[in-house]
Structure formats: structure tokens, C-alpha cells
Symmetry: C2
Subunit: 153 residues, 2 copies
């Protein structure tokens, strides 16, 4: 059972933005921190911006910042935004061709299991899973990080 | 969020075997019923046989039959057998390279959500989701099905 990488990266991007506080983060810097593709993160950032979680500040020194306080961002809501579906079995998916559809009892059982999975994520906010800027140290290669690293050295 | 087709087919195969009762089912017949690949179902049948859920009877008129009563087969156990992992985020997967591993708080949250998903499936047995042989009618193209279909008018 897996979530998409898209959801995984969306959560990491929000965690990174939360740790940055009011400082604008860039896609480039986030991609470097997590060693993931910039193209992929561009799409993630677009979805999170359209979804109302990030605010994009345009311009040369532009970047991204959380639009809401971390404690206002429910993890369950983020996952519902970023997952294309919760098609744990074929009958939950578009283009379902399972011959049992209609008589099958799996769908209500899996519906209940998915609801239970989501209800746990709904109990957590970004504030519960947020990290401190220093948790990204040694991974971040921006001047800011290096200077924090030096000051902690 | 998705389960593998492998798990989906495993559940369908067990449901089909349950509906057949003592009658031996074949992979060919099951593949025809669900319109899925025989090769794929072969692997599914091997896993279910090795896992103790199906008994393979060799020989010309051989086939597969449930080894346990449907009420003894917990859906949660079947899924744990058939899913390669529950790696909803990278840090749950083999070859995890996420830079936050160790400090991240997502893993305990997702661990709780997965446990909750599985605990729902553990409340159901194959008996709860089993269908009657006639639920497969009109989909099954074996002589048995045709004769049942005729006798039902």
C-alpha cells in the first residue's frame, strides 16, 4: 500500500516551509535539501499554492511561504488534495471493469478502512510534524544554512 | 493511495473459491471469470497456497480449494501476506534516502494510520465478503455456470 511520491513531497515541502517561518523558501533550495527533482517540486508547489497552503511571492527575491499557520493545516486535508485517488481496489478507480461491481462487499469494507486511515491523519496538523530549521542542517546547502551551521559549530 | 493489483486479485480469488465451496476451481476458470491474466493469477494462487489459504489438488481433474473455512480467513492477514509493503512514504520503503530520516515525525503518524487501516480489515473475514455462486453468473463461461443459468431461466 503506497501513497504517491507527490503526496510525500508535498508534506516535506510544507514541513520545510514551516521550519522557515516568515523566510521565503525557493523550489530550488527545497529540491536541493531533499535531493529531489525541481520539476517534480514545481508541480507540488503549484498544487499547494492553488490549494491555499502556500503563498507565492513573485519577483527576483520571491519565493514561497506558508499561507496558513501550521496548526491550521490538517495533514488529512493535504493528502486528500495531493492523492489522485484512494483506489485501494479496482472498483474505487476510474475505468473500473471488475465483474463483481454491484454485488461485491469489498467496497464498503475498504471504504471503512480508508476512512479510518484518513481520520488518523485528520487528528494531526503541520504543527505536530514540523521540524526546527536545524533538523535540515547538513542537508541544506544555502548560505543561510551554512551560517547557522557555523554559528552552532 | 493504492493496494497492488496482486492483493486485489488475491481477494477475488479467495471470494471465488469461497463461493465454489468444495468444488475445485481452476486458475483458467478464475481468470476467465474476472477477465484477468492467467499468468498473474498463477502467481497469486502460488502465494495463497504457500500462505495456507488454498490447497492445490494435483492431477487431470485437479484444482484449488480453500484450505480453511471462510470465517477463519481474516482479510487483514491476507493483505499483509500479499502486499509487498505499506510504504506510504519513502521512509517506510527499502532503499529509503529521505534526508529527514531520524528526526522526522511523519513516520509515527503514518504508522498509526496504517495500523488503523489494517485493524478495520482485521475485523472482517472472508465469510463477511463472500458471495453466492450466482453472483458470478453471466460472468462465468464454464459449462457449470451455463447450466445453472439455464436452470434459473
Amino acid at each position: 500500500m503506497r501513497l504517491t511520491n507527490f503526496s510525500d513531497y508535498a508534506l516535506r515541502m510544507l514541513m520545510y516551509a514551516a521550519s522557515a517561518g516568515d523566510r521565503l523558501i525557493t523550489i530550488e533550495e527545497t529540491a536541493r535539501t531533499f535531493k529531489v527533482s525541481k520539476t517534480h517540486l514545481n508541480k507540488v508547489a503549484n498544487t499547494l499554492t492553488r490549494g491555499g497552503y502556500l503563498k507565492a511571492v513573485r519577483g527576483r527575491s520571491g519565493g514561497l511561504v506558508l499561507r496558513l499557520r501550521p496548526e491550521m493545516i490538517r495533514i488529512g486535508d493535504v493528502i486528500r488534495l495531493t492523492e489522485p485517488d484512494f483506489a485501494v481496489v479496482e472498483c474505487f478507480a476510474t475505468g473500473n471493469q471488475c465483474v463483481l461491481t454491484g454485488s461485491c462487499k469489498l467496497s464498503s469494507m475498504f471504504g471503512e478502512a480508508i476512512a479510518s486511515f484518513q481520520s488518523i491523519l485528520d487528528r494531526y496538523t503541520l504543527a505536530d510534524v514540523a521540524l526546527m530549521p536545524q533538523d535540515f542542517l547538513g542537508r541544506l546547502s544555502t548560505p543561510q544554512a551554512s551560517s547557522v551551521a557555523r554559528s552552532r559549530g
